[in-house]
Structures are given as structure tokens and as C-alpha cells.
């Protein structure tokens, strides 16, 4: 019986902590609701249009991926705690389990689900027009070009 004491006390503490923090804020904090406080914060602008309910699907994909890989880590905890007891059998079991997830991860990266980047392609403007503009304006004094260290040369690609 005694071996379950730590778990039970941990559960009790958890419930107590959650309960107190909920109840305490309701008891002690001054409750002064006002319609401004209920309204969403829009940088000081009164929201005049209803916020759209639909969200782009890319947020949903990332959420699903996170849950999947998060649970994978949770399964690794019991193994990590008892790895001597589980021995080599446990190790290979765990390795297999992780390999499956790794394949999924490679597939996701290949499919580009994590490509979150902007639509804007690498806008490198065409240097011909720019050079012509620049040359026609070179003044007398000396000019120092900065910000080019470690960057690819300006390829001649239309914006």
C-alpha cells in the first residue's frame, strides 16, 4: 500500500493547486466586467467587423503535426525511466517506434508542410535597369558599398 503514497499525494497536490488558483482568483480579484474589457483587444481600435471564424488550413496542419510528435515524446518517457530494466529488447523496440515517426517526419518535410515561408519569391531586382539608374546619378564624391559580405551576387533575375 505504501508504494502508492507518492502518486496519491501528487494527485492531491495537483488537484489542490488547480482548484485553489481557480477559486482564489474568483474570490480575491475585483470583478469589474465592462463591455470594453470583454471586447477583443485590437490595438485600441473598436472592432467594427466580426472576426472571421474560418482560419487558413495551414494553422491546422501545424497543430496536428505538433500533437503527433508531442505524443511520441510522451511515450518515450516510460522507456527513459526504466531503460536498464527493459534492456536491449526495450532499446530496439524504442528505436523501431522512433524510426516509424522519423519516416513520417521525412515525408512531411518532403511534402513541404513545414514550408511556412512567404509567397514573395526572392525578389532580386533586375540589375540592368537599376545599374542604368545608378550610373546616371553618380555624383562626385566617394561611394562605399556595404551590406554585401557573405551574400550571393545580384543575379540578373526579373523581380
Amino acid at each position: 500500500m505504501g508504494q502508492y503514497l507518492p502518486i496519491v499525494s501528487l494527485m492531491v497536490l495537483a488537484v489542490l493547486f488547480a482548484g485553489i488558483s481557480l477559486v482564489a482568483s474568483r474570490l480575491l480579484a475585483p470583478r469589474r466586467p465592462s463591455s470594453a474589457k470583454e471586447a477583443p483587444y485590437e490595438c485600441g481600435i473598436v472592432p467594427s467587423r466580426e472576426q472571421p471564424e474560418r482560419f487558413p488550413v495551414s494553422f491546422y496542419i501545424v497543430a496536428m503535426l505538433f500533437i503527433m510528435f508531442d505524443i511520441e515524446i510522451i511515450f518515450a518517457y516510460p522507456y527513459a525511466v526504466d531503460r536498464e530494466f527493459l534492456g536491449t529488447f526495450g532499446f530496439f523496440e524504442m528505436a523501431m517506434f522512433s524510426a516509424v515517426f522519423f519516416v513520417a517526419f521525412v515525408y512531411i518535410v518532403a511534402k513541404g508542410a513545414l514550408e511556412w515561408g512567404p509567397i514573395q519569391q526572392q525578389r532580386v531586382f533586375n540589375t540592368a535597369v537599376t545599374q542604368q539608374i545608378i550610373d546616371s546619378r553618380i555624383g562626385s564624391g566617394s561611394v562605399r558599398v556595404v551590406g554585401t559580405d557573405g551574400r550571393p551576387a545580384n543575379t540578373d533575375e526579373v523581380a
Binding site: 512567404p118 551590406g147 523581380a159
Partner: protein
């Protein structure tokens, strides 16, 4: 009744109606293209390429949100309405006017003596440049711009260069903080504080000095000003090296800024941009060298130019312009002449305090100048100088009385902000923050 309706009844209406970004459904394609920031002087191919980028995204896919007046990263009270598809910014519309102070109307009822204190509050990061452009305009109208004493001219250059350094240090601080390098805020401010203390010693105020006045400068440099400046100039290079390692060397910093907010020379000229943004596209246009004023033609300095037109270029331009300004200040230290710091023309410069008790005429001049102000001959003039944000111009129309009939200040940030939609097109929201901070707008001079 949903909360939003209830909300509308209770508090005053902050909705600006037609000034806001309208949703895609009630706009024509050309209006959408214009909102996307298409600059119509572009070639057909670019407009075509632009069309497929903006495309007709389904109406419910996009969301219009407010990066409103009270926002940590909009450098003041700039309000941007962004149309987002997920994290990508499709359209952006800057809405300004939240700091409109009616300075041009107030300027019309202040005499030329008091005008400086009104103008200096426009671009509150480079106060000396505002006063300088206003004073030069008034001096041209008076016809005395030729015989301002040498010491006053050199002091004006000294103060406006130090002001450029403090403004660019402020840029480093806020640019770092906007991109997450929060400790950069502390470092940037530590240097800026040194320069502000020197300003306080010279002019008595840390900001809004009203020190450069028509006819010269308000007071002489305090004793020991030379080694104060040398102390600043000696301590700065080592710290700039530190920031170089802290920021320029970091791959994260580079990826956050490189290729973000690209603008081409052709588009920059079409929008009338000036300053570090124009120079980042490669066009070497710096008023201090191309249309020199004061004694900038006797100084030897480089114009810093970028080549990609993106935020990283603008950052490195401002970073190196601090070094250029330090070089200029060294040269000014050597060439600073002796002599009086204000034109000895009785009609413009009030007599020194001591003389007032002795001579009746000095008392009359003092009284006339400070109550009624000196009269400026009729005419109109436009002068422009290079402020840290670009070309700041002052257009004064005078009707012969002691108050300007019309004063208009051409603010560089007002024009640079109009380039935001163009730079933000297709980028992420995080890039939008980087772009705003790379444009470095000061809302005081935008809304005047």
C-alpha cells in the same frame, strides 16, 4: 446583441470608414493592385507578375486585422491594416493622422523667432535637423544666408552630425528590439545617452532644443566641449565592434533581414523615397554631397550605399553612417574656428543681456525682436537638407510680416511610409515588423 455591437454603442467610434482597408469583395482589380502596392510606373511584365501574386484569393480565406495605433512595434502611432492569408501579408494600408498636431497651422501664428520651437518637435529624433532647415529657409528669405559667422556654420554641422549619430543609435536599439535582440535596446540607449548628455550640456535640453535659430546659434559651446566629444568618439568604435558581432555576425539576424522588404531603385524613385531607403537600392543620392549646404563640400566623407534594396542593406547603411558621422565630427573638431556664434545684424539678433541696461537702442531692439519678431521680406523659398531619414525640406511663404504666411515641412518619413505596402507584399507578419523598423519612421513628422 454580440459584444461588438454593444461595444460600438458605449465607447466613441474609432472606425475611420473610407480611410480603412476595404475588403476584397467591394474593390475592383485595379484598386486591389494599387492596394497591393503596385507602382504603376512599373513595366508591364512586373504588373502581370504582380497580378498573379495577388490573384483573387477567396474572400473568406483572408482576414483583415489591425496593427493599430497602440502597438509595440509600430514606432509610434502608425496604424497598419493588414490583409492576411494565414501568416502572409497580401495587402497593407498605412492609416496615419493619429498624431496630427496641426503644427503647420500653429506655425502660421508664431513669429520667426518662435518658429524653431514648433518645428523642432516634428522629427523628435533629429531635432537639430528640423531647426536647421527652418533657419536656413528664413535666412534665405532675409538674404543673410551668405554672411552667417563661420563658427555658427561649423557648430550647426557638428550638432546635426551628432544628431544623426544619436538617431541612428536609436534605430539600432529599436531595430534590435523589434527583431528580438532586446538587449540591443539597452546598448543602443547607453550610447545615445552619452550624446544626449552632450546636447544637454550645450543646449540645456536633451531634446527639442530650439538651439539653431535664424541668424546662427543660440549660445556658444561650453568650456571643455572638445574633450567631451573626444570621449564619446573614443568610446564608440569599440562598442560598434561589439554590436557588429552581436548583430551583423549572427546568421539569424541575417536571415531575418536579408531579402525582406526589397524595393528597387526604379520603384523608390517613383515613390519619391529619399535617405537610407533610396541609398539601399544602390542610388548614391545624399544631399550633403550632391547638393551641399553649409560647409559640407569642405568635408571628406563617403556616401554609404547598399546594393540589394532590402532591410539588411538599410540596417548596414545606418550602421556605417554612424562611422561616417564620427569621421565628419573629427574633421569638424579640427576646423572649428573662433569668432562669434551669431550674426551681428541688429535687426535679427537680439542684443546681449548686458548691453540692454546701457543703451536705449539695444533695449528697443530687444523689445521689438522678442515681442513682435523681426520682419522678413515677402517671398517664398524651399530649402532641403539631409536628415537621418531622408530629405527634409522647408517651404516658407512670407508676406512681409513677422509671422510666416505658410510653412510646410516636407517630411521624409511621410513619404517613406507610403512605400510600406510595396515592401510588405507577400511577406510574413514577422517580416512586416522588420520592414517597419527598417523604414524607421518618426510619426511626429509624418502627421505634423
Amino acid at each position: 446583441m454580440s459584444i461588438v455591437d454593444k461595444q460600438k454603442i458605449v465607447s466613441a467610434n474609432t472606425d475611420e470608414g473610407p480611410q480603412e482597408l476595404r475588403s476584397r469583395s467591394d474593390l475592383t482589380v485595379s484598386a486591389v493592385l494599387r492596394d497591393v502596392g503596385a507602382v504603376l510606373r512599373m513595366s508591364e511584365s512586373e504588373v502581370a507578375a504582380m497580378a498573379e501574386v495577388s490573384g483573387d484569393v477567396g474572400e473568406d480565406q483572408t482576414m483583415i486585422i489591425n496593427m493599430g495605433p497602440q502597438h509595440p512595434s509600430t514606432h509610434g502611432v502608425l496604424r497598419l491594416m493588414l490583409e492576411l492569408q494565414g501568416e502572409t501579408v497580401l495587402r497593407c494600408k498605412p492609416i496615419i493622422g493619429y498624431l496630427h498636431t496641426g503644427m503647420e497651422k500653429t506655425g502660421e501664428s508664431l513669429t520667426y523667432m518662435q518658429g524653431g520651437s514648433n518645428v523642432t518637435r516634428m522629427d523628435y529624433l533629429s531635432c537639430f535637423n528640423n531647426e536647421l532647415v527652418f533657419s536656413m529657409a528664413v535666412e534665405k528669405l532675409l538674404g543673410i544666408d551668405g554672411d552667417i559667422p563661420e563658427r555658427a556654420v561649423w557648430m550647426r554641422m557638428l550638432l546635426s552630425e551628432l544628431n544623426r549619430m544619436s538617431s541612428h543609435l536609436m534605430f539600432l536599439a529599436t531595430n534590435g528590439m523589434d527583431l528580438g535582440a532586446v538587449s540591443m535596446m539597452l546598448y543602443g540607449w547607453r550610447e545615445r545617452e552619452e550624446v544626449l548628455r552632450f546636447f544637454q550640456k550645450v543646449t540645456g535640453l536633451r531634446m527639442n532644443h530650439n538651439f539653431i535659430r535664424p541668424g546662427g546659434v543660440a549660445a556658444d559651446l561650453p568650456a571643455g566641449w572638445r574633450d567631451d566629444i573626444l570621449e564619446i568618439l573614443e568610446s564608440l568604435p569599440s562598442r560598434l565592434e561589439e554590436y557588429d558581432i552581436l548583430m551583423t555576425g549572427q546568421p539569424i539576424w541575417r536571415q531575418r533581414l536579408q531579402g525582406v522588404g526589397v524595393i528597387t531603385a526604379h520603384e523608390a524613385l517613383a515613390l519619391g523615397l529619399t535617405g537610407p531607403i533610396l541609398r539601399s537600392t544602390g542610388v548614391a543620392w545624399d544631399l550633403r554631397r550632391d547638393m551641399p549646404y553649409l560647409h559640407y563640400d569642405q568635408l571628406e566623407f563617403d556616401v554609404i550605399v547598399g546594393s540589394y534594396g532590402d532591410s539588411y542593406d538599410r540596417y548596414s547603411i545606418r550602421f556605417n553612417e554612424i562611422r561616417e558621422s564620427m569621421r565628419i565630427v573629427y574633421q569638424i573638431l579640427e576646423a572649428m574656428p573662433q569668432g562669434d556664434y551669431r550674426i551681428q545684424n541688429k535687426k535679427v539678433t537680439p542684443p546681449p543681456r548686458a548691453r540692454i541696461d546701457e543703451s536705449m537702442e539695444a533695449l528697443i531692439h530687444h523689445f521689438k525682436i522678442f515681442t513682435e519678431g523681426f520682419k522678413v521680406p515677402e517671398g517664398e523659398v524651399y530649402t532641403a537638407i539631409e536628415s537621418p531619414r531622408g530629405e527634409i525640406g522647408c517651404y516658407i511663404v512670407s508676406d512681409g510680416s513677422a509671422k510666416p504666411y505658410r510653412i510646410h515641412v516636407r517630411a521624409p518619413s511621410f513619404v517613406n511610409i507610403q512605400a510600406l505596402p510595396h515592401m510588405m507584399r507577400g511577406g510574413l507578419i514577422a517580416d512586416a515588423v522588420a520592414i517597419i523598423s527598417s523604414v524607421d519612421p518618426v510619426l511626429g513628422e509624418v502627421d505634423r
